[in-house]
Amino acid sequence: MNDHAGLLQVLDAGDGEFLRPDPDGARAAARDKDRRLIDKRMSEQDAVARFVSDGAYVSFDTNTWRRGPSSLMREIIRQQKRDLWVAAKFAAHDLTLLTAGGCVSKIDVGWMEAGRVITEAMHAGRIKLYEWSNGALAYRHLAGALGVPFLPMRYLGGTDVFRHSGARLIEDPYTGGAVCIVPAVNPDVALIHVNECDVYGNARTFGPGLAPVETALSSKRVIVSTEEIVDTEEIRRHPAQTTIPYYVVDAVVHAPFGCYPGSVPGLYRADLEHLLEFGAAQARATMPEYLEKWVHSVPSHMEMLEQRVGLERLERLRAEETHREGYYS
């Protein structure tokens, strides 16, 4: 026996509320999923109605600036989902929109676009924040993906972030040093935008990213939106490109320009004019008008693209993304 084999000692603990790790619940959700190769294509309306409930913990990847599920998040606002708890592991103005839409009540913060909407919602008591960091949230998703209840890591300790989180500082039972542990997160639903996917959900994400694989694997339900539906024969010819296998995925939503107004590198650039319009709406407190124009007054993503953006602008965004290397070559 060594000196440290006694009772595990907790040296310090953060005060923040956290979603209770649920590896067995996540396993049960996995057990109940269909293992067959079945066509999982559905509309964004159906996917969000079926898999995003009020009160759900939602995790998305990446964000609305780059290869994120912007169309799915607009659908969440359109369906007026309420009381969501969101993992902001590098969230962009997507989180601002969800908050402006009245969908969010809790945010686990790594980094978020923190403007007028978020600050006012905090002051009004409509949203509650918990502190982590981008890396700590990605790591909590990794723990969730591994099916373990927590993981040790070597940061957060000693800071106010630790104090406002659900992290613990423990005595390492093997060496006796101090080590921080963070709880796994098993989101109720993951929203992941991918470059290519077949009808069964075998998905490819190209380029650097936050944590698409960990986000999918840690979550109980997984909605994948995809720029392109590819043939399964294409998937089988290049199996090394598959990052998320079909049995993890619950819904496949075909969403060309699904990250709009952001960019899917290699396919289309971000619409900077739109981002300025968003910025102005936040600065001038006209978010309701912005949401009416871009979300509520159009019944679907495709209709939003046709009626609000227009084919000409979309073609320009595609033409001006001249960089293909590493993505599509």
Partner: protein, 284 residues
């Protein structure tokens, strides 16, 4: 008499770039001043400089001029040696492969702890809320050395932070970081401002003034800090940004001027004697 003008942010980015070493590995967030400093170093004294980005990009070769909207631009990750993800590059930092973390701070205290979460009010009702630590907490904990970038202002160099988002030497006692679970031998290394450069005392872990810009005095620097740092004797001089550095920043590295924008510093100089010009044009 010649005159030269630049913004405070251009000075901060330039001084930081000069600290970068070509043969070391750096960790930066996805956009902002730290990334610009690395790019400036690459275009001047450190052509092969390598950096990893929080999004999992390892050692990219971003083309110049840099893209307008870096976070959403594929070319920012171009010609990397690997495209991984956030957990993977954090593992590389946790394993000890990353020498410098380069970060921007909203507030910093005498031990190099820093804030990027909120200022004023309370946690639940902040006067000004910022994005949060992002990757700063892990970068400042796991890289061997941390370089912080911020403006020299009394409300930024504070005795007590409104919120400690990321660690410096914590309370400055020996082993404080290790007792909080961080790897040993790590910590803040430099704090770069537009008028002064700071390091940290080996023993007390307190911030120490190392260099001052030639148009600023030590007294003026100390006046703009809430706490008194240690002062090295003799002090080094921070040579102002050169015309070449400014040209690179303005035409290649931040052509839209979004990040380098700031308060203008106008100087008149004869040789190495600099004097701050107070002409009306100095107003931003």
């Amino acid at each position: 008499v010649t005159s030269i003008s630049f913004t405070d942010n251009e000075a901060i980015i330039t001084y930081t770039a000069r600290l970068m070493e070509a043969d070391r590995l750096h960790f930066v967030a996805i956009g902002g001043p730290p990334l610009l400093a690395i790019l400036l170093a690459r275009e001047t004294h450190a052509p092969g400089i390598a950096y990893v980005v929080e999004d999992g990009t390892i050692a990219p070769e971003m083309p110049m001029p840099a893209p307008t909207f870096m976070i959403g631009a594929g070319v920012a990750s171009q010609r990397a040696v690997a495209w991984t993800d956030m957990n993977t590059v954090d593992f590389h930092a946790m394993r000890g492969y990353i020498d410098y973390g380069v970060l921007a701070a909203v507030q910093v205290d005498p031990y190099g702890n820093f804030n990027s979460t909120f200022t004023g009010g309370s946690y639940d009702r902040p006067t000004r809320r910022f994005g949060g630590p992002g990757g700063a907490n892990e970068i400042a904990s796991l890289c061997w050395r941390t370089i912080l970038m911020t403006r020299l202002q009394r409300r930024k160099f504070v005795t007590s932070l409104d919120f400690m988002s990321s660690p410096g030497f914590l309370d400055g006692t020996p082993g404080a970081r290790e007792r909080a679970g961080m790897p040993s031998g790590t910590g803040p290394y430099r704090v770069v401002t537009e008028r002064a450069l700071f390091g940290f005392d080996e023993e007390t872990r307190r911030m120490k003034l190392l260099a001052v810009a030639p148009w600023a005095s030590v007294d003026e620097v100390l006046d703009d800090m809430e706490f008194a740092p240690l002062v090295t004797d003799p002090l080094d001089t921070l040579e102002p940004p050169s015309l070449r550095e400014l040209d690179l920043l303005r035409t290649q590295i931040d052509p839209t001027g979004r990040t380098i924008a700031g308060d203008w510093i106008l100087l008149e100089h004869e040789g190495h004697a600099y004097r701050r010009s107070l002409s009306p044009a100095a107003a931003r």
